[in-house]
Symmetry: C2
Subunit: 355 residues, 2 copies
């Protein structure tokens, strides 16, 4: 079977009649029913976080995955944040919310993360961002069917050809619930103001609003030959960075809350030829506004399509993304982090009480 969810449409699809995509694209499906999709990011943060500390963190997190209810897949990454601090990151994927919850209750790493000592880490911060959405609140796209990344690393899935792509609004059309829900932010018209919170020596949960949108958008060029590698480095990557910097420089206008450019790492902590952006937007429509109208996205989009058309199935650079439109949640937790970490600056905060 190929599992998917569809609703009787009460909101028209964006797809133009008779649309044929300019380039082939693919999306992820599973062969068993999926109710909830959980991607959980764990971060360790320090201004001069060395490889030894990073490796210890990675090993600790990964050791705790050897558990009956551990994740179905995970990845190891690193990025430098807006405050200039280094962040070591593990993302773990579950397709079963009960297993995820059981792991959170009984595995070693969550206990260690929850311990009071974590707020006393000096200049070392820890954070956890859990994106848990019903299946009908996600979409994925891949430029090629041959590379498994993100949720596509989970078993019992396949990367399937599709035609819901190549027009503005396609990402929304691919989110099943968009057929019955405009997915507006309840904060539309009154976006949150940035403010500085006292976040050091504290454990803080953030109350994130309904329909906050998480994007993980990736690029993979391992093994690319001279021509395509050169094009990636000289053309696509700079265009991508211009786009990301535009969003970072225009957060309020674009609804961007946080954006990190992460690099996947090998076992020795060296950069792989593989990056991804993890970004949060106040709402899907703001992400769409940027994609459909701003020159920085049009440059990325047109270049990717042109290279696809030029190299066809010889294309050696894979691009992809996952989008999740979140329910209301209090699942982002920051422990002894600097005040510009993640979505700390924007929303109501809660302090877990030690029990």
């Amino acid at each position: 079977m190929v599992f998917h969810v569809e609703y009787p449409r009460i909101i028209p699809e964006r797809k133009p009649p008779g649309h044929q995509p300019a380039a082939p694209r693919y999306t992820l499906r599973w062969h068993d029913p999926v109710e909830t999709m959980v991607s959980e990011y764990y971060g360790m943060q320090q201004a001069d976080l060395g490889w030894k500390s990073q490796r210890q963190f990675f090993e600790q997190v990964q050791a705790s995955f050897s558990h009956a209810d551990g994740p179905a897949a995970h990845e190891v990454m690193r990025f430098t944040d807006e405050a200039g601090e280094t962040n070591a990151v593990v993302v773990a994927y579950w397709l079963d919310a009960t297993r995820h919850a059981r792991w959170g209750l009984s595995a070693d790493f969550p206990k260690w993360f929850a311990a009071r000592e974590r707020i006393e880490g000096g200049d070392v911060g820890y954070w956890k961002e859990t994106i848990a959405v019903p299946y009908d609140r996600h979409e994925t796209i891949y430029s090629a069917p041959n590379y498994r990344i993100g949720f596509a690393r989970t078993p019992n899935s396949s990367i399937e050809s599709m035609t819901t792509n190549g027009y503005f609004g396609a990402a929304r059309d691919r989110i099943p619930v968009s057929a019955i829900d405009p997915l507006e932010s309840p904060l539309r018209g009154s976006p949150p103001k940035t403010r500085t919170v006292e976040s050091r020596r504290r454990r803080l949960r953030v109350s994130t609003p309904l329909n906050m949108t998480a994007l993980r958008s990736g690029q993979y060029w391992v093994g690319a030959g001279v021509e395509q590698l050169g094009d990636y480095q000289e053309n696509l990557q700079p265009k991508l960075m211009r786009g990301m910097n535009f969003l970072l420089d225009n957060k309020e206008e674009t609804g961007t809350l946080a954006l990190r450019v992460m690099t996947n790492l090998d076992a020795d902590g060296k950069d792989r030829a593989e990056t991804s952006v993890l970004a949060y937007f106040l709402s899907l429509d703001q992400l769409e506004d940027w994609s459909k109208s701003h020159v920085t996205h049009l440059d990325i989009y047109r270049h990717a399509i042109a290279m696809n058309r030029k190299f066809k199935d010889k294309r050696e650079v894979v691009t992809w993304h996952e989008v999740f439109v979140m329910p209301e949640a209090t699942s982002f937790e920051y422990v002894n982090c600097h005040p510009r970490t993640g979505v700390l600056p924007y929303f109501d905060l809660l302090e877990p009480l030690s029990t």
Copy 2:
């Protein structure tokens, strides 16, 4: 259209082959797609809460419903809790999570409820329990199609005849997602222990676990004639109270977390001939265990069926329930309440920070 969600089954249904229900039963459907169902309970609590205070509370809450994003329906109730305190209760129903969130951000009552002064209410406590579930995590049943109560008060719905009833496991079978999810508690095997929390002069949110199950189960006998009224008062009601007291007296064994027997009120604060139980269970299977095996539930069940068979469409007592199997949430908030209020005694607590 009649909207409903169905999944390809990977978990067998409980319905025996060829099953024909012993008595007709009904369930609620809507004529537009429904994504999220929100029932939100607001409580005011005091040992000797007089009608004047109750009325003021009811008026204040109801006034705030005159709002573009106000609820689709609401009800006014009262109960005495396990500590002997009186609780005035309003329940409000939304079928649109965005409207519910907007109302929460801009209406008067939520602002008043969130104000710091509420923790300084002397011996008066306030609480809010928000049950927000995707459509596929609910089920309803009514003994008759003619009385509109609970979610059935919302517009664009109809009470439809069904045959998924009259066997043990029918409630589970009616929950769409039970086809693909056993809906177990991640706390199975290690149920929470009751503990006393410092809850006065504080605002506390409770972190409720995945698959906690909310039941609202009601009885309506307005206008019943002498014979059926007598039977209700002498037979069904005492059996019902025996069942509820058994659950209250055996909380840990039965997975019961909280249980209130509420009475609907008229505009003058007088009891209507209409009651309902609002109860929370650690998991659906524990509620099922009691229903299928304990004499106190079998007594209720058999009597209700016998009266249905005796009076058929002349039956003047309506029984019904709504069940919601909840995602992980932090949506139950208690302000200056006594420590035995709701689910306060069981789970991790969070303190919202004033901003």
